[in-house]
């Protein structure tokens, strides 16, 4: 395993008390594997990725093992060497993650010069090479542009070029296509797919779009209110979802291939993290809720080679600390 996350918990201090955005999350990523983390807003998927990168102001506990070494024990300097080189990240909003007052050229070369032993000229060559790779037309000219001169799809491709410029072993893509149109989304996903084949990099794909997950991921983690509710291979998850939340999510998407009269609805809303129901966090919205669910939190337990956190499948509860 290249990356192993064990019992990751991230907490934020607020006026009203501590909020646990990520709660006891464990997973691993192998080289060449695409792991998707799915969830709605507030499920903790982005905080998970920021915690791995050491970019969150919250209090992080647990182990984040990258090739067996705990990233949490690294110094700031050591993390700077890893970030952008061995692990890199594509951020959600291409509109705001590029610096508007610097040319694309300078932003790309900054990363390359920081991590690779290259002269300015060579770094520029490498930057142009990367832009060609991500499919930007006439990269020698466009590299002198400022971000505002590019369209959303192009900016996202610049972000990807930047993330990939030092051949990372692990790429964390946080909603890489959410801000883009479908035809551009298809281009970007195709690109990530090809590069993973070519460079054998591991990818953590964070998204709320189950269509994108079905098309590209190998394994899927479903998160809700900071906890993992289900983990399975992509084929198993879509063919036979176990957790009521996963089932509900899949049923509530309008399908393009057949006609539903009415969409399935998960009732209610995602609860506030500061004010969680006792017991299972999904209990208030669940169609299969039992008395037990309102009192105890089920454990994430392996059932038939996949993991699910629900009393419908086993009756072990999570130990409270």
């Amino acid at each position: 395993m290249m990356l192993e996350v064990k019992n990751l918990t991230t907490e934020f201090k607020q006026k009203k008390g501590t909020v646990r955005a990520v709660n006891n999350v464990s997973f691993s990523v192998a080289p060449g594997e695409i792991l998707a983390i799915v969830g709605e807003s507030g499920s903790g998927k982005s905080v998970t990725s920021l915690s791995i990168m050491g970019l969150t102001p919250g209090k992080v506990s647990g182990e984040i093992l990258f090739h067996g070494e705990d990233l949490r024990k690294k110094s700031v300097k050591e993390m700077q060497d890893i970030r952008g080189d061995k692990i890199s990240m594509i951020f959600q909003e291409p509109m705001t993650s590029l610096n508007p007052v610097h040319r694309i050229k300078d932003q790309l070369c900054e990363t390359i010069i920081r991590h690779m032993d290259l002269s300015k000229e060579d770094a520029l060559k490498r930057a142009i090479e990367m832009l060609t790779l991500v499919g930007i037309p006439s990269p020698e000219k466009r590299i002198n542009d400022y971000p505002h001169q590019m369209s959303g799809g192009m900016r996202q491709r610049v972000m990807i070029a930047m993330a990939l410029s030092c051949h990372p072993e692990l790429l964390i893509a946080d909603e890489p296509t959410t801000a883009l149109d479908v035809t551009i989304q298809a281009q970007i996903m195709e690109l990530i797919y090809q590069l993973r084949e070519k460079l054998n990099m591991g990818v953590i794909l964070i998204t709320h779009d189950l269509g994108v997950v079905a098309e590209s991921a190998d394994r899927v983690i479903v998160m809700y209110c900071g906890r993992v509710l289900e983990e399975a291979s992509v084929v198993d998850l879509f063919a036979n979802p176990k957790h009521p939340y996963t089932k509900g999510l899949l049923a509530s998407i309008p399908r393009i291939d057949d006609q539903q009269e009415r969409l399935y609805m998960i009732r209610g809303m995602v609860p506030n993290l500061a004010d969680m129901p006792a017991g299972c966090s999904f209990s208030d919205r669940c169609d299969f809720c039992m008395d037990k669910c309102r009192q105890k939190m089920p454990k994430l337990k392996e059932v038939d080679g996949r993991a699910v956190r629900c009393f419908l499948y086993h009756d072990e509860e999570e130990e409270t600390e």
Binding site: E40, S41, P137, S151, G152, G153, M154, D181, V182, T183, I184, Q185, A186, Q187, M189, E190, H208, D209, L210, G211, V212, A214, E215, A217, V234, V235, F238, A239, G248, L249, L250, S252, I253, P254, R255, I256, D257, Q259, Q260, R262, L263, Y264, M265, I266, R267, M269, V270
Partner: protein, 323 residues
């Protein structure tokens, strides 16, 4: 099919992209270019397209928020573009809008009750003592409770705010509601709730929708007919089953093939379009899709822009391949 509610003929909206020192336009952004379509009573017409294709501008033209550069919009036979300011008011009641961003479209300083009551008061629809009752009724229609009346928008989640926006649109008993991306800012599970609500209200109040969105699956779910826009022009229009099963325009085909399939065991053959949507500033005289078309014929860029033509009953396409 039923009676015609809105008939749009050769509608254009041009903006000056750049002006010379006297303020005369030197280049023109053609947001909507020579577009014609018909909306029948009690149908939901979907309008899809990528960002910048002019779908929102069409919505704003029909709701009379923009004055068109050219063309006519007939609402129940009356030309909306030639109304006096006073007449326009009465039509404003018949055509309402639901906005994309539920966080920006509600006044944060007004209670939800006041937000919904305002259009009723302005239009003097009810005596003052009946307004509260009506507001309660509307809140119940969209699945909110009476006590929500005294709360402010910030106390609500995105899905609930969108419900308030819908109640506000319903308050004046409109005939047509233009829904501009009403669910794209919402989470999947909340999106399903709002779509079902819109579906129910349509039957209950006999509403007509112009449903503008970029999510093709969402549009398919809610609409009866679907139109596809590209760079200010309508390139294809058909019944939804027909359009999704038998797309004819190369752009529609590419758009449909780009939707990720929810079944991981099916690997579909995908048409990947090269490049981005070009800028609508000074578009060419020939077919706007020419630059990205993978079925382009040699003379496509020599011919005038193709017109929307009925190729099959009820299936309209604007493409030289079908002429």
């Amino acid at each position: 099919m039923a009676e015609v509610l809105v008939e749009v003929k050769n509608l254009s909206k041009h903006f000056a992209a750049e002006t010379d020192f006297l303020g005369r336009p030197t280049s023109v952004l053609k947001a909507v270019d020579n577009l014609s379509l018909t909306i029948y009573k009690q149908e939901a017409l979907g309008l899809v397209g990528e960002s910048g294709c002019g779908k929102t501008t069409v919505g704003k033209l029909i709701t009379n928020l923009y004055q068109p550069t050219n063309g006519t919009i007939l609402f129940e036979g009356k030309d909306l573009t030639k109304l006096s300011a006073k007449e326009r008011r009465s039509y404003a009641r018949d055509i309402q809008l639901i906005f994309q961003d539920p966080y920006a479209s509600l006044n944060p300083r007004m209670t939800v009750g006041d937000i919904i009551a305002e259009p009723i008061k302005i239009n003097k629809l009810l005596p003052a003592n009946k307004v509260e009752e009506r507001v309660n009724y509307l809140l119940n229609c969209v699945g909110l409770a009476n006590h929500h009346r005294n709360r402010y928008p910030h106390e609500f989640s995105g899905g609930q705010r969108q419900r308030v926006g819908i109640a506000r649109a319903l308050a004046v008993e409109p005939k047509l509601i233009v829904c501009d991306e009403p669910v794209s800012a919402l989470d999947v599970s909340i999106q399903a709730q709002v779509l079902n609500l819109l579906d129910d209200l349509k039957d209950e109040f006999g509403l007509t929708y112009l449903f503008i969105a970029h999510g093709l699956n969402v549009v398919k779910h809610i609409s009866d007919r679907v139109g596809v826009m590209y760079l200010g022009q309508l390139v294809e229009l058909a019944d939804k089953e027909e359009l999704y099963q038998n797309p004819m325009h190369p752009y529609t085909k590419a758009l449909l093939s780009a939707i990720p399939n929810i079944d991981p065991t099916v690997k579909k053959q995908r048409i990947i379009l090269s490049g981005d949507v070009p800028s609508p500033i000074d578009p060419p005289d020939y077919c706007h899709f020419c630059g990205r078309c993978y079925q382009k014929k040699d003379n496509c860029d020599a011919l005038a822009s193709p017109q929307l033509k009925e190729v099959k009953p009820g299936h309209f396409v604007a493409c030289h391949l079908y002429e």
